[in-house]
Symmetry: C2
Subunit: 460 residues, 2 copies
C-alpha cells in the first residue's frame, strides 16, 4: 500500500491505532475456516467519524476494507482475501444502554455476544441468539453473518432481534436504519438488508437490539432412538404439541465420537439422540415438562428418555453435544463443516445421503445440529495431505449441496456464504435473483471496496 | 391510454380480464383512506407469466402499475395516484399447499388473511398476524404494507412470517427470494426488502409463510385503571413477567365512546382500560392465568380486574375494542387515523400530547391500540366541511408526529407510509438513509412504473 495512504489513515486513527507489522497483519488474517489471507494494514478505529473517514479514502482509492470482530466466522466473512485494510472493531465494545422497561439494548458491534447476554440477565432480560462461539464472537459479526444457534427453534435468529443499525456506507456516509420501538414499517427494511450481508454493503457501527424477559426455569431431556427416521418423525410431532427452546440431534457417527462423555451407557442399537429443552415460567415448565416426559415415553423408536436431574447433568449433556466437533479431530486432522438446512421432515434423507457418501467415498461424515429447524451441521472429516480424501471430500460436499437443494433446503442456515459457498450460490438461487443482489451491491458500493470476493461467484 | 397498448394488454390476459369501464375503474380507485384516484385500466391476471408480460409493457412504455388486493390499506398503498394500470390480484387466490409437519404454507397473494387462518387451523396450525381487516384483507397487501395486529406483542408482525417470495420485477423478470426452511442466510435478504416496500419494488405473485402450532387455550382479562400513566407502568411490569398474546389499551375518550358496549358499568374516575390475553397449552394458560390474576389485583392504579367468564364475554370485550373506530363517527363525520409507535413506557406522554392538542385545537382525539408494543392508533375526528377543523386536524397530526419522533418513536407501526405520510418521511429518516432507499428504488425500477408517488416525498 502506498505510503501516502498509510499516512492519511494514520492521521485519522492515530499512530497507535494502525499497524503494518507482520505480527499484527497475521493476527487479522485468519478465521474459523482455517484459511489465511494477509491484509496490508490493520486499523483500530474507535468512532463512527473515523470509520467514515477511512471509507472515504478506501472508496476513492479502491482499497478493499474488511470489518473484523472475533474472527470466529465459518465461511471466511472476515478474511481480507484481496488484501487491503482490516478494520478491527475491538474498540467498539461498549454496551451503550439497556432499557429494562422497553426491553431494548443499544450496543456497539465489538461487544461479545455472551457479555451482552450476561449484562441483559442482570436486568432480568434475555438475548436469545446463541451461536456456539458466543463466549468470544461479537454482535457485529453475528449481525453481518446472520448467526443462529440452538435456541432458534423457539426464539429465532439474530435477524429477529435487530431493530435498527447505524451503518457507514462505502462512500463514508452514515445512515440510520430501523427503529428503537417494537414495530416499524417506515420505508424499505434496510435493517434486514444489512443483516446477513457479510460486510459487503457497509460497516456496522451501532446495533439496536430487542431483548425479551429471561425465562425463569428450564428442563432438559435426552432421548435415545432406534433410527434417524423415527427421531425426525418424533421431532415433527413434538413441535406440533410443545414449544421447546432446544431440539438438537446427533446421528450415529456423532454419537460414537462422544459416547464416553454421556452420563449413561448407550443401549445397543441406538442410532440417534435428541436433546430437548423447555423453558418459561416455573409453573409452565413444570406442567409442560411432565406432559412432555409422558408423551416421549412409548413413542415409536424411543429407547430411553432421561430428564437431567441437576445442572451438572445438563452441563454434561451440553458438553457432549458441543464436544462432537472438537472430538472429531481424533478421527482425521481436517474438517469441512457445512450448515445446510432442509425441511425438518427431510433430515433422515439428508443423513442417509451423508452415510452413503461416507461409505462410497471412504470418508468419515457425521451430522448433528438443530433438528427442530432442520439446520444440520454436516461434518466431513479428512486428511488434506491425502489427495484422494481431499478430492472425495470436495465431491461429497457438492453431492450434499445438490441433495439439500433437491430436498427443498438451503445451503446455509447461520454461517453465511462467504468464500466457502460462493461458487455454489447458483445451485440455490436463480440467475435473476443473484443479479438483483449484484445490482444492490453495485449501487451501494460502486468501487467494490467493501469486503470484495465474498458471497458472489467470482467467475461471472 | 393508447389503444395500441390496451390491445397488447388484452392479448395477454384475454378480453374478459381487462376493463376500462367507468364502473370497474371506480371499483379500483379507493382504499381505506377514503381517497379516490381512477386508473386507466384494470387487469385481472391469473398467472405469473401474464404479470411478467404486463410488466414488460409497462416498463417499456413508462406506465404506472399498482397491485391491488382488497383495498383495505390505510395509507393509500393501493391507490393509482398517477393513473395507469391496476393489477387486481383476485385470481391469485389459491392456498397452494400447507405442509403440516414442516409448518409452512405456500399461498398466492390474493388469499384473504382470515381464510388462510381458518385453513391453517384445520391442520392444528396458526398464522398469527391479525390486522383488524383480516376478514377481507389479503396476504399480498399484508406483505406489501408490513401489516401487524394485536397479536404482534407476542407473535410479531407479517414480516416475521414471510420465509420467501416470488416477485415479478419492474422489467418483467421473475425472481425467487428466501427459503422454504425455518432458517436461511444465503445472499442478501431480498425477502424482507420486498416486505413493506408497498408495491414499489415488484409485484408479489407467491408467498411462503411460516405457521406455528395453534394455541390450545386462551384467557382474557379486562383491567380498569385510574390513569394512563399507571396503565403504561403496569404494561411494562406485566411484560417483564408474562408473555401475553394481546395487550391492548383504550384511553379515556375511547372508553367514553364504547362505554355502553362493555359488559359492566365503568367506575367513576376510570381513565384507561387494558385488555390482556394469555394463550398457550391448557395447563400453561391455567397456571399463568391464575398468576396474572393474582398479580393484577392490588397493582397501583388498578380499580377492577375482570376475567372473561365465557366466549360470549370475550366476544363482547373485543366488539367494544374493535367498535371504537366505527363508533367514533357518531362524534364527527371524518377521521384521520395514525398508527404511530413509541417505546411503550412513553405512551402516557403521547396520550397527554393528544389530549392537550384536542383541548387547544378544539378537536376530538382519542387513542387506543397495542399498548404492549407501543403502537398507538391516534384518531383525530373532524368535520372536513369546517375549514378550521380541517386546518387544526392537520396541525394536530404534525404535532403528534413531532412528539412521536421526540419520544424515540416511528410514524408507522403497521400501515406503511403510502401517500398519507410521505411528506413526513424526513421527520423520521435522515436524508442519506432516504437517499439509499431511493437508490434501491431507482436500481430496481429505473422507469419508475411500480406504484409511483408512494413512500418518498414528492417535492425532492
Amino acid at each position: 500500500m502506498e505510503k501516502r495512504i498509510i499516512r492519511q489513515l494514520t492521521d485519522i486513527v492515530g499512530p497507535e491505532n494502525i499497524s503494518t507489522t507482520e505480527a499484527e497483519l497475521s493476527c487479522a488474517s485468519y478465521d474459523g475456516t482455517g484459511r489465511e489471507y494477509l491484509p496490508e494494514a490493520v486499523l483500530w478505529p474507535s468512532t463512527v467519524d473515523e470509520v467514515s473517514k477511512i471509507m472515504i479514502i478506501s472508496h476513492r482509492e479502491g482499497i478493499p476494507v474488511v470489518a473484523r470482530g472475533a474472527g470466529s466466522g465459518m465461511t471466511g466473512g472476515a478474511l481480507p482475501v484481496r488484501g487491503g485494510l482490516v478494520l478491527a472493531m475491538a474498540k467498539f465494545n461498549r454496551i451503550l444502554s439497556i432499557d429494562e422497561a422497553n426491553q431494548t439494548a443499544i450496543v456497539e458491534p465489538g461487544v461479545v455476544t455472551g457479555v451482552l447476554q450476561a449484562e441483559a440477565r442482570r436486568f432480568g432480560l434475555f438475548y436469545p441468539p446463541d451461536p456456539a462461539s458466543l463466549k468470544f464472537c461479537t454482535i457485529g459479526g453475528n449481525v453481518a453473518e446472520g448467526a443462529g444457534g440452538p435456541s432458534a427453534v423457539k426464539y429465532g435468529v439474530t435477524r429477529d432481534y435487530v431493530k435498527g443499525l447505524e451503518v457507514v456506507l462505502a462512500d463514508g456516509r452514515v445512515i440510520h436504519t430501523g427503529v428503537r420501538t417494537d414495530k416499524g414499517v417506515v420505508g424499505y427494511d434496510l435493517t434486514r438488508l444489512f443483516v446477513g450481508s457479510e460486510g459487503t454493503l457497509g460497516i456496522i457501527t451501532k446495533v439496536i437490539l430487542r431483548l425479551i424477559p429471561q425465562p425463569k426455569a428450564k428442563q432438559t431431556f435426552l432421548v435415545l432412538l432406534d433410527s434417524m427416521k423415527e427421531a425426525a418423525s418424533l421431532v415433527a410431532r413434538v413441535l406440533s404439541r410443545f414449544t421447546p427452546c432446544t431440539l438438537e440431534f446427533m446421528d450415529r457417527t456423532a454419537l460414537t465420537i462422544v459416547a464416553d462423555q454421556l452420563p449413561m451407557a448407550l443401549p445397543d442399537g441406538t442410532d440417534a439422540v435428541l436433546l430437548i429443552e423447555l423453558d418459561g415460567t416455573t409453573a409452565a415448565v413444570a406442567s409442560e415438562g411432565a406432559e412432555l416426559d409422558d408423551y416421549l415415553i412409548g413413542q415409536p423408536g424411543v429407547r430411553l428418555v432421561r430428564q437431567a436431574e441437576n445442572q451438572e447433568e445438563v452441563d454434561r449433556l451440553w458438553a457432549a453435544r458441543r464436544g462432537v466437533s472438537p472430538a472429531a479431530f481424533s478421527l482425521r486432522p481436517h474438517k469441512m463443516s457445512e450448515d445446510v438446512v432442509v425441511p425438518r421432515t427431510k433430515i433422515p434423507e439428508l443423513v442417509a445421503c451423508a452415510e452413503g457418501l461416507a461409505r462410497d467415498l471412504d470418508l468419515v461424515i457425521f451430522c448433528f445440529g438443530h433438528a427442530g429447524d432442520g439446520n444440520i451441521h454436516v461434518n466431513i472429516m479428512l486428511d488434506r495431505a491425502d489427495s484422494r480424501q481431499a478430492t472425495n471430500a470436495e465431491l461429497a460436499k457438492q453431492r450434499i449441496f445438490a441433495r439439500v437443494i433437491e430436498l427443498g433446503g438451503t445451503l446455509s442456515g447461520e454461517h453465511g456464504v462467504g468464500i466457502t459457498k460462493s461458487s455454489a450460490l447458483g445451485m440455490e438461487l436463480d440467475q435473476d435473483t443473484i443479479e438483483v443482489m449484484r445490482m444492490i451491491k453495485q449501487t451501494l458500493d460502486p468501487a467494490g471496496s467493501l469486503n470484495p470476493g465474498k458471497i458472489f461467484p467470482q467467475n461471472g
